[in-house]
């Protein structure tokens, strides 16, 4: 899958492919291949360095973009998934468990998106129900009891807007997480890997550090939703995306996030290893810093972190 704005890349890739096929019979095409490859990389860098907000949304939603399970496989060992909210069910849109990250034992929670139709049904496209948020909170309390730092991976278009979710208290579940996560006495690092969709993202998004991948987005409402309300035209999503300031650089400037983790050239979906390397480096740094703080200091800083957003 590629985007409209990636057309020049696609063309170059096609030509490189064609030439490579000729290489056997005409070895001299190698020079051309090298030239085109260089151009491809430059073009890719150029395109990805000037993505519009709306283009970034598309990249953030790319179906091949690394999902939670890719991060689990790429960064952690000994993952043990833990199930259930001890109340109603085991939501598969938010999963969690113990894992080992370098020399750190940690607890992971995060939205799980699928890459196939079957997976998307099973994971409900990463849109959690109340039991997902409640499971996350239960695991956070385990992490607190066991003194395990937490890494929370955010990638959701939002909390599931379904009848059953409303009945079982979607609002209450998110609200309680916001309240209680602010006081969970263990370090929490939040990483937005793809879509940070509104309350559904924030519901597992309160922590000591908020990091974003360079092509991820984080927004109070989807650009489509905003466009259809304020522009009365969902097609104006690009304008809304721009106005909402949802990209990592914009959010860093607004002092909402702590760090942008740079993706490899051409986006996370083009280079899984590159992403893992960058994320690993960042997580290690922040975990080390947070583990050095007393719990009191940690919680005071977490409180102040959110208190100062929109302070007068």
């Amino acid at each position: 899958m590629s985007f409209d704005f990636e057309k020049p890349l696609e063309d170059l890739e096609t030509r490189i492919r064609e030439l490579t096929a000729l290489k056997e019979s005409k070895p001299e095409v190698q020079t051309n291949i090298d030239k085109l490859s260089l151009r491809l990389e430059e073009e890719c860098k150029a395109i990805y360095s000037r993505l519009t907000a709306w283009q970034t949304v598309q990249v953030a939603r790319h179906p091949e973009r690394p999902s939670l399970r890719d991060y689990i496989a790429g960064l952690f060992t000994d993952f043990i998934e833990l199930h259930g909210d001890r109340c109603f069910g085991d939501d598969q849109a938010i999963i969690g468990g113990f894992a080992t990250f370098e020399k750190h034992r940690v607890l992971i929670i995060g939205h799980q998106k699928g890459k196939s139709v079957e997976e998307n049904i099973r994971f409900n496209f990463g849109m959690a129900r109340p039991e997902g948020y409640r499971k996350a909170l239960r695991l956070l309390r385990l992490a607190e009891k066991f003194h395990l730092p937490v890494i929370s991976f955010i990638d959701t278009s939002g909390a599931f807007p379904g009848l059953d979710a409303e009945e079982r208290g979607q609002a209450e579940a998110i609200a309680r997480n916001l309240r209680d996560m602010s006081r969970i006495a263990t370090p929490i690092v939040v990483l937005v890997t793809g879509e940070g969709g509104s309350g559904g993202a924030l519901g597992i998004g309160v922590g000591d550090k908020i990091l974003m991948l360079s092509n991820s987005v984080y927004s109070v409402i989807s650009p489509e939703g905003c466009a259809s309300i304020l522009w009365r035209d969902g097609a104006k999503a690009p304008e809304a995306a721009e106005a909402l300031k949802i990209t990592a650089p914009a959010l860093l400037k607004l002092k909402i996030i702590d760090e942008i983790i740079p993706e490899p050239v051409g986006g996370a979906h083009r280079n899984m290893d590159g992403v893992m390397k960058a994320v690993r480096k960042s997580l290690l740094k922040h975990l080390a810093e947070l583990k050095g703080l007393s719990i009191k200091k940690l919680l005071d800083r977490r409180y102040e972190k959110f208190a100062k957003i929109g302070r007068f």
Binding site: A159, F160, P161, G162, L163, A165, E166, E167, R168, G169, Q170, A171, E172, I174, A175, R176, L178, R179, D180, S182, R183, S198, G199, L202, G203, G205, V206, Y218, S219, V220, I221, C226, I229, L230, W231, K236, E239, A240, A243, L244, K245, I246, L251, L254, I256, R302, Y303, F306, A307, I309, G310, R311, F312
Partner: protein
């Protein structure tokens, strides 16, 4: 000082024109004598429909006369995104909301007394940009919560909101976390928080402070929910029952303690505060 009540305002004006004497119930369309209707705090005597109250009106309903002292009245909207849509800028829109309502934000906060008991009160006003949760709203609620904690006074927040204020983007979203964090500390300090959910309380406000009361109480028929009805119907591809997301429905599903008609609200709150502060039995 006590804020203007409708009755008081009336006295200061000229005799109203005949058409101003009557109003129509939004729900049952009955013609109502305006003064009567206002005396009943905008509850329809025919069908019991609870119409929206402005923040000042609700404050008058809840606190003892002349007992209210407002906090942070000068806090007004900020525009962190310099947001503009095709109909104009957020700054202009917010100015219009200020002019229309006489408020500077979607919430009025302060302290007062309720039947003599000291309370901290935050009252949202749906007339101000749909009661949306902006950074000014969040900051005022945050400060009121901190005040309640430090002075060990019970906190009441009356919500009326369509949710987060998207014109402030992520800054608005983060007010959910900010206000909830303040409530976490209030809770740790053992101070009661009563959330009053009025029509409507949805989106980011229901998914933060409005659902975090030690006691969640609601007005009859108030719309209370997270996602919008239309979005849900599109998602599940079926029509929702009429009573869906009403206060009574949400009570049956376990998230609201009490549904209290407006006429009993003050007395019920008084009792709940007595229990929650465990004051001496008279």
């Amino acid at each position: 000082m006590g804020w203007f009540s409708w009755g008081k305002k009336e006295k200061n004006q000229e005799a109203p024109a005949k058409e101003d004497l009557w109003t129509q119930c939004t729900a049952c369309k009955a013609m109502l004598f305006k003064e009567e209707w206002h005396k009943k705090w905008k509850v329809c005597p025919v069908c019991g429909f609870h119409d929206k109250l402005a923040a000042r009106e609700r404050i008058n309903l809840l606190v003892d006369p002349k007992s209210f002292y407002e906090f942070d009245a000068r806090i007004t909207i900020s525009d962190p995104l310099k947001f503009t849509d095709d109909k104009g800028s957020y700054a202009e829109k917010a100015q219009q909301a200020c002019d229309k309502t006489g408020l500077r934000e979607a919430v009025v906060t302060g302290r007062g007394k309720l039947h003599g008991l000291r309370i901290v009160l935050a009252v949202m006003d749906f007339n101000f940009m749909g009661g949306s949760l902006g950074s000014g709203t969040g900051e005022k609620i945050f400060r009121a919560t901190e005040f309640a904690r430090k002075k060990r006074m019970p906190l009441i927040i009356a919500s009326a909101s369509g949710g987060a204020r998207m014109h402030e983007g992520i800054v608005s979203l983060m007010q959910m976390a900010k206000t909830s964090a303040a409530l976490a500390r209030l809770h740790e300090a053992g101070i009661p928080f009563i959330s009053l959910l009025t029509n409507p309380t949805t989106g980011g406000v229901s998914a933060s402070y409005a659902m975090l009361g030690d006691l969640n109480i609601a007005e009859p028929g108030a719309l209370v929910g997270f996602a919008g009805r239309r979005v849900i119907e599109q998602t599940i591809k079926q029509k929702l029952p009429d009573e869906f997301q009403t206060a009574e429905y949400v009570r049956e599903h376990g998230f609201i303690d009490l549904v209290i008609p407006r006429k009993d609200l003050r007395d019920t709150l008084h009792k709940l505060i007595q229990y929650s502060m465990n004051t001496k039995v008279d």
